[in-house]
């Protein structure tokens, strides 16, 4: 199993959700997060005073899938969240040792 963690622009959430639905992914966890990467923070000037926007609001999506589906999911997220501009986000893929469905105790892929 793999965990796919994607950081995307907030307004792209609906697109990503839809494109994941299209390939049959139904479960995901969404978090409103703030951070910065190469995009860095920036300054906004208002009435001569500087306001530093140090962390940029983003959405984090977490999905666990079978190894075989990881690539497909990554491609789908990539396509849906791309605007071609700076700050489009990042996707991380990492291995998952175990998954357990609390109600039934099912393990592994069955628990997804």
């Amino acid at each position: 199993m793999k965990k796919i963690e994607a950081i995307i622009k907030p307004f792209k959430l609906d697109d990503v959700k839809e494109s994941l639905n299209d390939i049959g992914i139904q479960g995901m966890t969404i978090t409103e997060v703030k951070g910065y990467g190469r995009q860095k923070g920036h300054k906004e000037i208002y009435r001569g005073a500087e306001y530093v926007v140090d962390f940029v609001p983003k959405i984090k999506i977490e999905i666990i899938v079978d190894d075989g589906r990881a690539e497909e999911v990554v491609t789908s997220i990539c396509k849906a969240s791309n605007t071609g501009k700076i700050g489009d986000g990042k996707i991380f893929v990492m291995p998952v040792d175990e998954a357990i469905r609390v109600r039934t105790g099912e393990r592994g892929s069955d628990a997804l």
Binding site: K9, E44, Y51, V53, V56
Partner: protein, 923 residues
């Protein structure tokens, strides 16, 4: 059977008896036959404990060993307010030491209760322990305040109470009071304000039972009162206040009992899922479930609000100096004659004065807000009774409107005068439209408050921006707040922003804008003030929607917002309104994350609006991108051209245009006879570099390409101007794109020629293109005679040439302008208005004309501007049914804004004179 076994059996028999009796009591309650449930329930428990102790071997042993046991009821049980699933708090008290047989006693008394699943808490203490713990642990102190003797040795109990009181009054009064306030504050943070919440906590929220307990504790700390009734006897509450308090408490306890019964546990939060059932059991009836729940919750909220008000009054007393603590018969005057301060509450000097001076109804709230002093219960009743005196004449009276503005600006978190005004019914009398959102509940996850309370909260949030102690997170809002002018409009918009929600059929911000227009107009606000407030209501979701649904890092988003909002003043107000709206909605709508998104959008939009004509680094990047896109488009067109039609101009031919864009059909083609020349890449780049930035920001690459083609054709062909008429497929509107030498009056002459030919102008944009070339785009209705449409356009073109040569050519048109515009029923009959704004742009004066549509409108205005020596550089003209808002960026031909205010007035009057007057056909 051993003796002790036998005893246990008797005990369990007793507890079974208790449970049976309690079940019977609950049953009677459910049937509606237990009006004194709390007392009865308390008595059942008392009976049980008395019987247990009477038959207890352990208790007898203790009495022999001279440490008799005393049972003391604490907490709610102590106050005699035992609800269906309330905890039972018990103190097992001994004088000096705890005997060894206590464990046995506890088994006898409590095990059966636990087995019967009665939540029972107990403590075993000596008098000394009780006293020392009371000052260490505030919760223990408050339970001691409620202590009540059940059975056992009464001298021990009284010894404890006497010592407790002595120490309390000698040393601990002020610290205890301080801790009481502190504890309440913490509780409000944890549980929120029940007088607003859609799922209020009956016990712990602000306005809940705990507020009443706090009142009682306060009174008990200060003077040794025994019962609730003593609150009135000792002068903590007036007679009316006490009576209302009793009613409110009874109502809440009743709900709490029902809730405990339904859920089968001690549940004090009134969740959505239970509200319907509780409402029905209380006798709220009706076919529409939502309506029933709304009515029920409205009642509950107003009662909780009363408890909250009483609590606030007494908290205020605690913070006041000691001497002011008790009622005095002294009466103090206020700034208004007829309103006095009596017994620390605001009051009418006499009820008889009110019918003759109905404005006192509002004034008492003005004073309440200004002095942050509560209004007496009696005065509230009077306001409610005489609210009918508020009629349209009252509402239109400017001094009443001003009084209301004052009330709005003094409605704060700590002291909510607007909410009191709402609860008396006066607010709805003053703004009848508010009645539609009264107690209106929104069934979703976001909204924690009914619409009316949410609206009032929104006003409070805005007032909090001007507070002295500003939370660092709010500092930015305070900065923006300090810059805005016309704060009363922002407050009005905050109060009215959701008023459209009373009409579920329509989108609420649009409906709300209509209602707001009506209210603001009735209240006698000026046109600009009405328009601004209406815009705020109409756009109140615009920023938050854009911030969450568009890419805010994309400059186009900010340009889009700037285009929609136009003015920095409006943007600032809209931003604060959005923030207040979100904050007043609840934590799900407002967090650090959404706050960051919104602020960034605001800052970027502000920058665009302020630097509209200046190329910033960012805007120039967009423009750069636009230029590249135009070049790419040009390349692809050239390629197409080279492949096929070698001898024809690529952008010049109608046929080619059709091939590029199927949505366009050519009506007339003055550009046909071209020699087939192709744009030279270098010259195209050069022209793109010199184009006006604002134009580049707003026009699409396709449009730019088309316009440049026109420009090139004109230069090659020579002449004053060139135009091209296109029609959009499926639409009966013609777009006339005109490129010409930008000489004074050019714009007004085009408008005049269209008027001359009966071509109705629907909209227009004017740009200064390159050097001294103007580009004007008009949307017009085609001539009625379609058969000879081309001929008609040709004629119009000839006339424009004439008009350019002969300045008086169009003078005859002035007679054709109607002298009066008649509007019919349902149309607005607002008078014409002209607004001169020097702030919106650093290079131009913005002239805004609000009027009604009539033939020749645009010509009349622009011809006037031309005769006044003003150049129209940018024009935004739009017609919506009967309302016209035309915006012109003008400056004097010698490059100056209209700086002289007198000049501004002259210009305004001149335009107003030229416009026909407005008359409603029915008036």
């Amino acid at each position: 059977m051993s003796e002790s076994n036998m005893e246990l059996k008797v005990k369990s028999g007793l507890s079974a008896g208790l449970i049976n009796k309690k079940e019977a009591l609950v049953k009677r309650f459910v049937q509606g036959n237990a009006p004194d449930f709390l007392e009865s329930c308390t008595m059942l428990l008392d009976d049980y404990f008395q019987e247990v102790i009477a038959g207890s071997v352990a208790a007898r042993k203790m009495a022999f060993s001279r440490s008799p046991v005393t049972l003391v009821a604490l907490g709610g049980y102590g106050r005699g307010e035992q609800c269906v699933h309330s905890d039972v708090d018990l103190l097992i008290l001994f004088e000096k030491k705890v005997p060894a047989s206590t464990e046995e006693l506890v088994k006898e008394i409590l095990y059966p209760l636990w087995d019967a699943r009665l939540e029972t808490g107990y403590a075993v203490r000596t008098i000394k322990e009780c006293l020392s713990m009371a000052w260490e642990e505030f919760d223990i102190l408050t339970t001691m305040l409620d202590a009540r003797f059940i059975c056992g040795s009464s001298p021990v109990f009284f010894q404890l109470m006497e010592k407790f009181r002595n120490r309390l009054s000698r040393k601990y009064v002020q610290t205890s009071l301080n801790r009481l306030i502190e504890q309440s504050r913490k509780r409000y943070e944890d549980y929120g304000d029940s007088t607003y919440l859609l799922e209020p906590n009956l016990k712990s929220g602000h306005g809940g039972l705990r507020d009443y307990h706090t009142i009682l504790w306060y009174a008990r700390i200060i003077s040794d009162i025994k019962s609730r009734r003593d609150l009135e006897r000792y002068g903590f509450l007036s007679h009316d206040e006490f009576a209302t308090l009793e009613g409110s408490l009874g109502f809440i306890w009743h709900i709490r009992n029902i809730l405990h019964h339904i859920t089968g546990r001690k549940c004090d939060q009134l969740h959505f899922e239970h509200q319907n059932e509780v409402a029905h059991r209380l006798g709220f009836k009706g076919r529409d479930t939502h309506r029933v729940v709304e009515e029920f919750m409205g009642d509950l909220h107003s009662r909780m609000d009363f408890i909250k008000q009483i609590n606030i009054m007494l908290t205020e007393d605690i913070q006041l100096s000691k001497k002011a603590r008790f009622f005095t018969s002294l009466q103090k005057p206020t700034q208004y004659e007829g309103i006095v301060i009596r017994e620390r509450r605001l009051d009418f000097e006499s009820m008889e004065r009110v019918p003759g001076e109905p404005e006192l109804l509002l004034k008492i709230f003005v004073e309440s807000g200004r002095l942050q002093k509560p209004i007496s219960i009696e005065a509230r009743r009077i306001v409610g009774e005489f609210a009918y005196l508020v009629d349209d004449t009252f509402r239109k009276n400017p001094s009443n409107v001003e009084a209301f503005e004052k009330i709005l600006s003094t409605s704060l978190w700590e002291f909510n005068v607007l909410n009191v005004m709402l609860s008396t019914g006066l607010l709805v009398r003053f703004i009848p439209e508010f009645g539609a959102i009264l107690n209106k509940i929104q069934y979703n996850q976001y909204h924690l408050f009914p619409v009316d309370k949410h609206s009032i909260r929104c006003v409070q949030v805005i007032n909090s921006f001007k507070g002295k102690k500003i939370d660092p997170a709010h500092e930015f809002y305070a900065t923006v707040y300090r810059e805005i002018k016309g704060r009363k409009l922002l407050l009005m918009a905050a109060l009215l922003h959701d008023i459209g929600k009373g009409d579920p059929e329509r989108e609420h911000s649009l409906r709300g804008a209509e209602i707001t227009r009506k209210i603001m107009t009735r209240s006698g606000y000026g046109r600009a003030e009405v328009e601004e407030t209406v815009s705020l209501v109409r756009l109140h979701l615009f920023l938050i929607k854009t911030a969450t649904r568009r890419d805010i890092s994309d400059e186009e988003t900010a340009i889009f917002c700037a285009g929609k909002i136009q003015k920095i003043g409006l943007l600032r107000k809209l931003y604060l309104l959005t923030v207040a709206d979100s904050m007043a909605t609840g934590p799900k709508a407002w967090n650090d994350w959404s706050q960051a998104l919104l602020r960034e959008l605001f800052l970027k939009t502000a920058e665009i609006i302020k630097n509209r004509d200046v190329a910033t680094l960012k805007t120039s990047r967009i423009i750069e991108k636009k230029r590249e896109d135009v070049m790419l488009l040009a390349d692809s067109l050239m390629e197409k051209q080279l492949m096929g039609k070698k001898n024809r101009g690529i952008w010049g031919k109608g046929a080619d245009r059709d091939a590029q864009d199927h949505n366009h059909g050519h009506i007339n083609g003055y550009t046909h006879d071209l020699d087939g020349a192709v744009w030279n890449r270098e010259s195209l780049l050069k022209i793109l570099d010199s184009l006006n930035h604002r134009y580049l920001l707003y026009a699409s690459p396709q449009e730019i390409m088309e316009h440049l083609e026109l420009y090139r054709n004109l230069k090659e062909k020579g002449g004053d101007f060139l135009w091209i008429v296109t029609s959009e497929k499926g639409s009966d509107i013609r777009t006339v794109t005109i490129c010409g030498i930008d000489r004074p009056g050019f714009y007004s002459k085009i408008a005049g020629v269209f008027f001359l030919n009966g071509l109705n102008i629907l909209g227009s944009q004017a740009y200064s293109l390159i050097d001294n070339w103007a580009l004007d785009i008009f949307k017009v209705m085609p001539p009625k005679d379609r058969l000879f449409e081309n001929e008609k356009w040709e004629k119009a073109e000839r006339q424009l040439h004439q008009a350019i040569k002969d300045d008086s050519f169009l003078d005859r048109l002035k007679d054709r302008v109607p002298a009066v515009i008649t509007t019919v029923f349902g149309q607005s009959d607002m008078p014409n208005r002209v607004q001169i704004d020097n702030e919106a742009s650093s290079f131009f004066t913005v002239v805004e004309v609000f009027t009604h549509d009539f033939p020749g409108l645009l010509f009349v205005i622009t011809d006037n501007l031309y005769r006044l020596g003003l150049d129209v550089r940018v024009a935004m003209v739009s017609t919506k049914i009967d309302q016209v808002v035309d915006v012109f960026y003008v400056r004097y031909a010698d490059n100056g804004k209209i700086d002289d205010p007198e000049d501004g007035i002259r210009i305004r009057d001149s335009i107003l004179d030229a416009l026909p007057s407005v008359k409603n056909v029915l008036k």
